[in-house]
Amino acid sequence: MTTMSIRTRWPQALGMAVLLGLFAFAIFGPLANLFLWAFAEKWYFPHKLPQEFGFSFWARVFSPRGGALTSLWTSIGIALLTVVVSLAVAIPAGYALARLKLRWRGLILFAFLLPQAIPNIPIYVNIARIFYEIGLNGTIIGVVLVHAAHGLVLAVWIASAAFAAVDISLEEASRNMGATPWLCFRTVTLPLAAPGLIASAIFVFLESLDEFTGTYFVGVPDVTTLPLLMFNASMGGNYQIASITALLLLIPSIAFMFVVERFLKADVLAGVGR
């Protein structure tokens, strides 16, 4: 009986293994290809693998003339400023949405969702035009504003959910003991909501780091972020430099996502959109 069931299960298990293998290839094959390109010195058709491996392109990317380091710092600087601007709006807005009895609460939350539900291209195109007229095109501030406007959507929703998850009786207890509203917010509410707020900061940071379309329209020609550098290298046919830059972009995305899973607790996620 048992041998029967094992025998009938064999082909099934084999089929499953083959399917999973194909799926793994579909997911990691493209990434492996990127990896090979990043370390290839020479790779001509029809060779299946690079003829030579090496780091000379890495040296070129990181040399002062390669521009990668400048772009990397530009990208990180823009992303940090974007986080500051977004949180400066999202913390008070999220708190108000979670705690105060606002009459148009549903409408306000909907307004913050709207940008997610329409194509972004018309927005970037026309912001670029406005910025061009007031001299913000090609400036760091211009790019930060565009990124922050986009990042706010996520930040306000997550912040509002994070504040809503804080037990209101803790705030009341501290107020009863004579804490001022500001002291209460600073020492009770904010620390309790911190994991959710950090998660939203990470999301905004990543969105900004990886953003292409807005920077493409608003940042040209003076602001070159990492995604733009990668795009230019790829369009210029230099796959090694494009792949190295792509890897640089991948590292923070994947690293942060592992961190986010720890910060974004299930109870906060469940509150998003409530």
Partner: protein
């Protein structure tokens, strides 16, 4: 801030698309946009609809197996595998697929190496197929994540009961699981549809030549001709397509409400 950065640009888009040189009202920009980019518009709709359908099917297959799969090891591996593209930005997806799907890319090497295709039959997939593959690769995990979450919160007793009555897993998926998570599936698919509609980097990197997607045309009109009028006419058309998707979704949702 929302007003300044979303409403104002949208209003500008609408005004610029209809304003003639002398300041009057005109449809000329739309006629020109239709004249020049008719194929690209149809191409855009075709690509995004096809990608959305494929994304839905892939998401149902993966999320379905995650929920109903009987081999715990396979479920764990799949759960670990499917999420990776979720964390990868569109711009990197563009570069990754540009190298992978090229004539001398890894896909062709593997197909030739395993004897599945003749070396001479190797072809570049960097046309509409490449765009669809890149979109599905990048967006399917997102919809799968939403869908698997919704499926996990279903009542396990229901599945148990149907199983005891002898329902196969396919019947379970089609008859019990899917009808209950249809709303989540629709939301995920509509969000993906709208996202893909406005992605510039993927079509620009995989296939910038005509026929391509209208995001590429919009960028071209602006960077090469500073032609904001036609660009905005194209923008409004893409908004209309998105509105179409939203309308289909709302009709579905309200029909469900009415029948419930």
């Amino acid at each position: 801030m929302i007003g300044a950065f979303f409403v104002l640009p949208l209003l500008m888009s609408a005004v610029l698309a209809f304003r003639a040189k002398d300041g009057g009202f005109t449809f000329a920009h739309f006629e020109k946009a239709w004249e020049l980019y008719r194929t690209d518009l149809l191409f855009t709709v075709g690509i995004t609809v096809l990608s959305t359908v494929l994304i839905g099917l892939v998401a149902i297959a993966i999320a379905g197996y995650l929920t109903l799969g009987e081999n715990p090891r396979a479920v764990a591996i799949l759960r670990w595998l499917y999420r990776w593209p979720l964390f990868i930005p569109f711009i990197v997806t563009g570069q990754v697929m540009r190298a992978f799907l090229a004539k001398n890319g890894m896909l062709n090497h593997v197909l030739i190496g395993s004897g599945l295709i003749d070396p001479l039959a190797a072809q570049s997939l960097l046309d509409w197929r490449g765009i669809v593959i890149a979109f599905v690769w990048k967006q399917a995990p997102f919809v799968t994540l939403l869908l698997a979450g919704a499926m996990a919160s279903l009542e396990p007793a229901q599945l148990e009961a149907a199983r005891n009555l002898g329902a196969t897993r396919l019947r379970l998926l089609g008859g019990i699981v899917l009808p209950q998570v249809r709303g989540t599936l629709m939301v995920g698919m509509v969000l993906s549809f709208v996202t893909m509609l406005s992605v510039l980097s993927v079509p620009l990197m995989i296939n910038p030549n005509s026929p391509t997607m209208i995001t590429v045309d919009i960028a071209y009109r602006i960077n090469t001709h500073s032609d904001y009028a036609v660009a905005n006419a194209l923008c409004l058309m893409s908004l209309l397509i998105a509105a179409g998707a939203a309308w289909i979704y709302l009709r579905h949702a309200s029909a469900r409400h009415a029948s419930a």
